[in-house]
C-alpha cells in the first residue's frame, strides 16, 4: 500500500499575461510529495520553479491542472501551514533576532509567550543560541539565513517552501548550510520543497529531485534519490551521486 501524498500536482499550468502577449511559466507540472519528504526543484532561471513555489504558497493562482496540499492523515491549513525562506534573509532591520523569528506567530495571533519559548528553541536548533537580542546587521549572511529558517518554522507549519535559500552565500558557507538544513529537517520532520539552480545541492539534499527546463518551461524529470542517510559531504564522491548529477546535467542540455 502506498502512502497518501502530502502534495499532489497534476498538469499544473501557469500563464503570465501582460503587455499584449502571454508567457507560459509552467506548462505541465505533475508530481507528488510525500509527507516528510525534502523535494528539490532544480532548473535554470526562468524555468518556472519559483512560480510553482508561489502557487504552492497560495500567492499566485494557477491556470490549469490540479494542486492539492494535505491528506487525510496530514491536514493542511493554507492560512497557517506555510513557512517560507527566500534567497535573501529578509530580516526586519529594526527588530532583534528573536522578534524577527516571532513575526509569523504575531501575524497568526498565536499565544506570544509560548511562541517566544519556541522561537528560542528554534534559534538554538539553527545554531543561533545566544544571538536572540542581536540585530540582523550584527550577524553574517549565513547566520541571518539561519534566523530566517527559524522564522519559517516558528508557527510549526506543515510545509516549508525554500526559494534558493543558500544562493547568495559563498560556497563554503553553502555546504555547511546544506548539512545544517538536513539536520534541521530531520529534527523537525517537516515536508520541505527546496528550489535551487545548484545541481549537486539538489541531489545532495533531496529525497527526490524534480527537474525543470526553460524555453519552453516544462517539467523534464522526477526521480527519487537513493543515497544513504545521514548524508555527509563524502557522499559527493559516491558513484550514484555522480550518476544523478550527470542525469540532471544531461536534461539541462549541459552534456
Amino acid at each position: 500500500m502506498s502512502v497518501e501524498p502530502f502534495i499532489h500536482l497534476a498538469g499544473v499550468r501557469k500563464i503570465y499575461r501582460g503587455g499584449g502577449h502571454e508567457h507560459l511559466a509552467i506548462s505541465d507540472a505533475t508530481f507528488d510529495v510525500l509527507p516528510g519528504e525534502l523535494v528539490s526543484l532544480v532548473g535554470p532561471s526562468g524555468c518556472g520553479k519559483s512560480t510553482l513555489l508561489k502557487i504552492l504558497a497560495g500567492l499566485h493562482p494557477h491556470d490549469g491542472g490540479e494542486v492539492r496540499i494535505g491528506s487525510t492523515t496530514h491536514h493542511f491549513d493554507p492560512a497557517r501551514d506555510i513557512g517560507m525562506v527566500f534567497q535573501a534573509p529578509l530580516l526586519l532591520k529594526w527588530r532583534r533576532i528573536l522578534d524577527n523569528v516571532l513575526l509569523p506567530a504575531e501575524l497568526l495571533g498565536l499565544p506570544i509567550a509560548a511562541a517566544r519559548e519556541r522561537a528560542r528553541e528554534l534559534l538554538a536548533l539553527v545554531g543561533l543560541g545566544g544571538y536572540e537580542q542581536k540585530y540582523p546587521y550584527e550577524l553574517s549572511g549565513g547566520m541571518q539565513q539561519r534566523a530566517a529558517i527559524a522564522r519559517a518554522l516558528v508557527h510549526d507549519p506543515k510545509l516549508v517552501l525554500m526559494d534558493e535559500p543558500f544562493g547568495a552565500l559563498d560556497a563554503l558557507t553553502r555546504e555547511k548550510m546544506n548539512l545544517e538544513l538536513l539536520r534541521i529537517w530531520k529534527e523537525s520532520g517537516k515536508t520541505i520543497v527546496f528550489v535551487t539552480h545548484g545541481i549537486s545541492e539538489a541531489v545532495f539534499l533531496g529525497t527526490r529531485v524534480v527537474v525543470f527546463t526553460a524555453g519552453p518551461a516544462r517539467m523534464a524529470d522526477n526521480f527519487e534519490i537513493d543515497l544513504p542517510r545521514p548524508r555527509t559531504l563524502d557522499l559527493k564522491t559516491h558513484e550514484r551521486f555522480g550518476v544523478y548529477t550527470r542525469r540532471i546535467y544531461k536534461l539541462l542540455g549541459m552534456e
Binding site: A57, A79, I82, A88, K93, W94, P104, L107, L108
Partner: protein, 255 residues
C-alpha cells in the same frame, strides 16, 4: 575614548557661534550707527517683547497652531496616500503623475485662491502650510514603501496577514527612515507656508503682526517676529529629529 566629550564640545561651539552672531549684530548696529528703523539693536529687539500692544503670546500661538496643524495634516495625508498607492498600482499610475505636477505648482501662488475658498483666518493658513508640506512627505514615503522587498510582502500574504498588519509590522517601520527624510524638509516648508498665508490675508498671527508693524516702521517688533517664527520652526524641526532618534536606528537613517 569617551564619545560624550567631543559631543559636548560641539554643543559648546554651537552655542558660542550663536552668541558671536549676537555680538556681531550688536557691534554692527552700535559702531555703524545704524538707525533703529533700518536695523534695531539686540536690546531694542528684545524690548519689543515687552510691548503689550503686540499680544506676542496669542500671535505666536496662532502661528504655531497653523504650522503644527498643517504639518500634522500633511503627515497623515502624505503617509496614507502613499500607502494607498501600494494597494493599487492603477491608482498610483493614475495619481502619481498628477501629484508630481501639483508639486511643481508654486504653492505661494495658490494663496489668493485659498483665501477665496476658505476666507481668511487660521484655517486657510493651516491649509497653506499643509499644501506645501504634504508633497515631500508623500513622495519620500512612496519611495520608502517601494524599497520594501516584495518577498517580505509575500511572506506576510502567505500567512494571510491583514493589510493593517502589513502596514504596522512591515511597511511603516520599513519606510520610517524615508518618512523622516521627508518630514525634515516638510518642517521648514510648513513654516514658510503658514507665514505666507498670514501675509496674504489674516487677522492674527506673527506674519499678520509683521505687516501691522511695518506700517509704523517698528522694525524691532519685526525682528522679534522673525525670531519667534524661527524658534517655532526650530521647535518643530528638533521635535522631528528627536522622534527620528527614538524610532530609527542610526544605520537606517536617510539623509
Amino acid at each position: 575614548m569617551n564619545r560624550a566629550a567631543p559631543q559636548a564640545g560641539r554643543y559648546a561651539l554651537a552655542v558660542l557661534a550663536h552668541l558671536a552672531l549676537l555680538v556681531a549684530w550688536y557691534l554692527f548696529v552700535r559702531l555703524g550707527d545704524v538707525p533703529q528703523f533700518v536695523m534695531p539693536s539686540p536690546q531694542a529687539t528684545f524690548q519689543a517683547l515687552l510691548s503689550p500692544n503686540y499680544d506676542w503670546w496669542a500671535n505666536t500661538l496662532v502661528t504655531g497652531t497653523e504650522i503644527f496643524g498643517g504639518y500634522l495634516l500633511a503627515l497623515v495625508v502624505g503617509v496614507v496616500l502613499a500607502l494607498v498607492f501600494t494597494w493599487s498600482k492603477t491608482l498610483e499610475a493614475l495619481l502619481l503623475p498628477v501629484i508630481v505636477t501639483l508639486n511643481m505648482v508654486p504653492k505661494v501662488a495658490l494663496g489668493p485662491l485659498i483665501i477665496v475658498w476658505f476666507k481668511y483666518g487660521v484655517f486657510p493658513n493651516t491649509i497653506m502650510a499643509f499644501s506645501i508640506a504634504v508633497f515631500p512627505i508623500l513622495l519620500t514615503t512612496a519611495r520608502g514603501l517601494r524599497e520594501i522587498e516584495p518577498e517580505l510582502l509575500d511572506l506576510v500574504r502567505s500567512l494571510r496577514g491583514t493589510r493593517w498588519q502589513l502596514f504596522t509590522k512591515i511597511q511603516l517601520p520599513g519606510s520610517l527612515p524615508y518618512i523622516f527624510a521627508g518630514m525634515k524638509v516638510a518642517a521648514i516648508l510648513a513654516v514658510a507656508g503658514a507665514i505666507v498665508g498670514e501675509f496674504l490675508g489674516s487677522d492674527k498671527g506673527l506674519g499678520y503682526l509683521m505687516l501691522q508693524v511695518q506700517v509704523t516702521l517698528d522694525t524691532p517688533a519685526m525682528f522679534m517676529a522673525v525670531i519667534l517664527i524661527t524658534l517655532l520652526g526650530m521647535l518643530l524641526y528638533d521635535l522631528v529629529l528627536l522622534l527620528e532618534r527614538l524610532f530609527v536606528p542610526k544605520d537606517a537613517r536617510v539623509a
